[in-house]
Symmetry: C2
Subunit: 202 residues, 2 copies
DNA sequence: TGATTACTACTTACCGGTAGGTAGGTTTTT
DNA sequence: AAAAACCTACCTACCGGTAAGTAGTAATCA
């Protein structure tokens, strides 16, 4: 048995490569479209190694998402501590996300595909937590902005949809058309949107 | 052989039910996650009937998307003829889309999932046409608005991302959380955004 | 007009291939 | 030596797809 499921200890070579290969293939082909054969082939190990570290294909999937969830939490904690105006903080959020994307592109694509792709056919997993965490963060930033009088009072829920929808769509656009993932576009769009959100001085 | 592929003639019972069942299952489980067995089971026919009307699982998939493409074209032609201010026309666009969603929910979910879901694992098909058609329509509406001085000059490309990203995100939100698909939310968000887009009178 | 032919729309029964998963032995590390 | 890390060889279940045959009906022909 793998050492107490190795939740936080060092990744062995094989285990880490399986996580990486699984992330890449799940992101590229979806869960159902990914074969165990393909994952172990890409990881350069044999099949039973996967079943040794993760009890099943679904287990590998869960392990990948669990790790991603921890990463997202860390990222958001870090962002929520940043000072600045509401717009500044949203821009920091965007930039951090884009940095994360640059560092772990496959992982971000995977989450994105899970959130926006077909709902069934994957092992039971609350993928919506990723969404809810982002929503909560955006709402909190906006509410603090309202308290300081920086932005107009609006349904925080709807502002969050605007801010996140914009970013997700840019992300999707970047990776659908395999061009350059311009990190400035969401910023420009956000500024554009903010001209309607920011409290206008009389 | 089925009469000249029946592109436009009457749908037999079996053929129509296969299209419907395929749409529902592809939308729910994705292409790879959908089995031919499942489709024919839902359609209430036997397996070779699928291969009789469509040459393969991929053929059924293509037939569904081809039909959807024609429907989208018709819808957009109809919308582009509508008069009104830029905001009005965008609102009409939103409402038409939401009406289409109410009428063919599975079909819209399928397209949405294909556009935003994992890229590989489906038969070769230019799913991006759905995207491009919407983009072109929004850009045209906006450009006409610019010409009439109704809206500020901005990259039409970026405005389209704003307008479509907003709607897609609302759509996604509606169907991810299985609640009521409030057709007014995208309208409210659009108005919110327009306060920054509309040319402000001096 | 009745018999024959021909076609559409299906059915039952079945492939070959491959999916996820495992039994059990072997090497490597501690 | 004992535990951990891995391999070869294999199993069962089910996948997409097909061969071959048939009920029902429309067209053809003597």
């Amino acid at each position: 048995m793998p050492k107490e499921d190795r939740q936080s200890s060092f990744e062995t070579d094989a285990r880490g490569r399986l996580l990486e290969a699984g992330t890449a293939l799940f992101a590229e082909r979806g869960y159902a479209g990914t074969t165990v054969q393909g994952v172990v082939g890409r990881a350069g190990v044999t099949k039973p190694v996967l079943y040794y570290y993760f009890e099943s294909k679904a287990g590998l999937f869960r392990a990948i998402l669990d790790r991603a969830g921890r990463m997202q939490e860390d990222l958001l904690v870090h962002i929520m501590e940043m000072p600045g105006s509401t717009l500044d903080r949203f821009l920091i959020l965007y930039r951090s996300i884009y940095e994360g994307m640059a560092e772990h592109p496959d992982l971000f694509r995977l989450i994105h595909n899970l959130l926006f792709g077909p709902p069934a056919g994957i092992p039971p997993y609350d993928v919506m937590v990723f969404h809810r965490r982002m929503f909560a963060a955006v709402q909190r930033i906006y509410n603090e902005g309202v308290a300081r009088g920086e932005v107009v009072e609006a349904e925080p829920d709807e502002v969050a949809m605007l801010v996140l929808g914009l970013m997700d769509f840019c992300f999707h656009h970047d990776q659908a058309l395999g061009g350059v993932p311009d990190p400035c576009r969401p910023e420009r769009l956000l500024r554009l949107t903010f001209q309607g959100l920011a409290a206008r001085p009389r």
